[in-house]
């Protein structure tokens, strides 16, 4: 008998000691991803105290493919297919700034009609990216309709882009010197009808998703990043604009034909997750306006491409060109030594800059808010990893 009692006492004593001695037991380590319905190609190490996150450390690099090193071994045209892979559903924009940089290094100017076609493709791609982002945001918050509607309406835009470029998502459409092919016959009318229909559908998103009291409760006042913090962290794109800084590369440093286009920079001052989720939606509405203007102002005739040979040589020098992509400023820093290949190529992407804000926003918030905060950062893991 005594032995059993002793044992029980011993166990109780040990158990009490363990829970007492180790304060770290209060903290639980969570590793979210890479196999997790709400993570994607991304892992985040989180420590929670009860329900509150006290430590967050993003562990990225699951899709790091060494694009910057690879591009040193390919010529300027051969670089296009692999450089657009980081964001395949926003591939015109990621090649747009590359094209601008190479055009500057080679010293050519695309024809005017080519510039318009490229801008149309870029705006359509922004719609494709943002609708996909919105669909995943819907499924993150458990709103299945918001997965189905944007993915369905996204196909309208993908259909347009496919007619225009020849592939659903990886277009390889914008090249240094313009675009690869002219728009097909009666594209203009089709584009206008589908964009008008898409815009009508966008209004319905507001009713079912953005004005939905459940979404409001999950996002309003959650993950606040005020203006000073946003500037300090150097975030970009919709995350920055949601914090009350009206900064859009299309406006502040217009490239190609954007200085002829009349549009507003959409921004909000509420600085919370709802603002970060709402600004891309406002951007989509603005994109529809821009596309209509571009179609209207586009010259009917003319060449679309200044043909360059595959092994074109660049002037020695360096350049930094950027465009406004779906996730913010997307810059290419290219150093050329006068050969047919870049000496060094650096992609500065919006995702890589925005992910810095994730630990800042997560620490102190509740675990249940993690998906809402994480995906509202407009983060696409592959683009950050490159």
């Amino acid at each position: 008998m005594s032995t059993l009692d002793d044992k029980i006492n011993e166990i109780n004593r040990l158990a009490i000691q363990i829970t007492k001695d180790n304060d770290d037991d209060r903290l639980m380590n969570l590793s979210i991803g890479p196999q997790h319905p709400g993570s994607g190609h991304f892992r985040i190490v989180i420590k929670v105290d009860g329900d509150y996150i006290v430590y967050a450390d993003p562990d990225i690099g699951y899709v790091h493919r060494g694009e910057e090193k690879m591009s040193e071994h390919r010529n300027f045209i051969q670089n296009i297919p692999h450089l657009e892979r980081p964001v395949i559903h926003d591939s015109t924009n990621i090649i747009y700034s590359y094209s601008l940089a190479i055009e500057e290094l080679i010293g050519i100017n695309p024809p005017r009609r080519g510039q318009f076609v490229r801008a149309i493709a870029a705006e359509l791609d922004r719609l494709v990216y943002t609708t996909y982002w919105l669909a995943i945001y819907g499924i993150f918050l458990g709103h299945s309709t918001m997965f189905m509607w944007p993915t369905g309406d996204r196909e309208l835009i993908i259909d347009l882009l496919e007619r225009m470029t020849g592939h659903r998502v990886t277009h390889a459409f914008s090249v240094p010197g313009g675009v690869r092919n002219d728009i097909p016959y009666n594209f203009k009318e089709k584009c206008l009808t589908q964009i008008n229909y898409f815009e009508k559908r966008l209004k319905e998103y507001e009713d079912i998703f953005y004005n939905n009291p459940l979404l409001r409760q999950r996002t309003e006042g959650v993950g606040i990043m005020n203006k000073e913090d946003a500037i300090k962290l150097g975030v970009t794109g919709s995350v920055l604009r949601a914090s009350g800084v009206p900064y859009d590369i299309r406006k502040v440093e217009p490239y190609d034909v954007y200085d002829e286009i009349d549009f507003k920079v959409q921004y909000m001052k509420s600085c919370d997750t709802f603002a970060r989720a709402y600004v891309p939606y406002l951007d989509m509405k603005e994109s529809c306006h821009i596309i209509r203007q571009l179609l209207d102002k586009m010259p009917d005739e003319g060449s679309v491409r200044e043909k360059i040979v595959g092994n074109v040589k660049a002037q020695p020098g360096e350049t930094y060109r950027r465009v406004e992509s779906g996730r913010g400023a997307l810059g290419y820093y290219i150093i050329s030594d006068g050969s047919t290949k870049p000496y060094r190529l650096k992609i500065s992407t919006g995702s890589f800059r925005n992910i810095l804000a994730l630990p800042f926003l997560l620490v102190g918030s509740k675990l249940g808010d993690m998906p809402a905060i994480y995906w509202a950062l407009n983060y696409w893991p592959i683009e950050a990893d490159r």
């Binding site: 790091h64 692999h82 892979r85 996909y132 669909a135 499924i139 993915t151 996204r154 998502v169």
Partner: protein, 171 residues
Amino acid sequence: MLKDLVNPTNVNIYVSKLSDVLIKAVEEPLGYAINWGRIYSLWPVHLETGCCSVEFGAASSPRYDVERFGMLEAFGSLRQCDLIVVLGTVTRKMAPRLRMVYDQMPEPKYVIAMGACAITGGLYLDSYNVLPGADSVVPVDVYVPGCPPRPETLIQGCFLLQEKIKRSKIK
């Protein structure tokens, strides 16, 4: 005479013979039934290895709606899945995780390699961080080419996989 036939040793033999006949009679239809069940409940693991996940998402969109065929219903739990779609590039950092996920899945399990990167490494043939294809990590049943493949191609690949399952013998 009858007594000889029905002694305990003989009964054992009869029963075993009868069960052999029964198994033979049942095996094929039963296997067919089990396979039939399997092909219409292909549940994939939600492990995104690369950028083909965008077109995987598009495949479950209202336009293509693969759930019409009872497959690719995403967001299942790992332990209840029988299909893993390798969605693109397998990097060195992701490869151990991919194998880990594959090992945790219950038998029978099937693998679809989606996209050029998952088949041979594709564009990243000389990259320092990309493996030349998913079949160096997991055995692959069906290859779906494209970069990324159209959702139609993925659906066609799933039809091929269904055909393969239909013709396989259950153990």
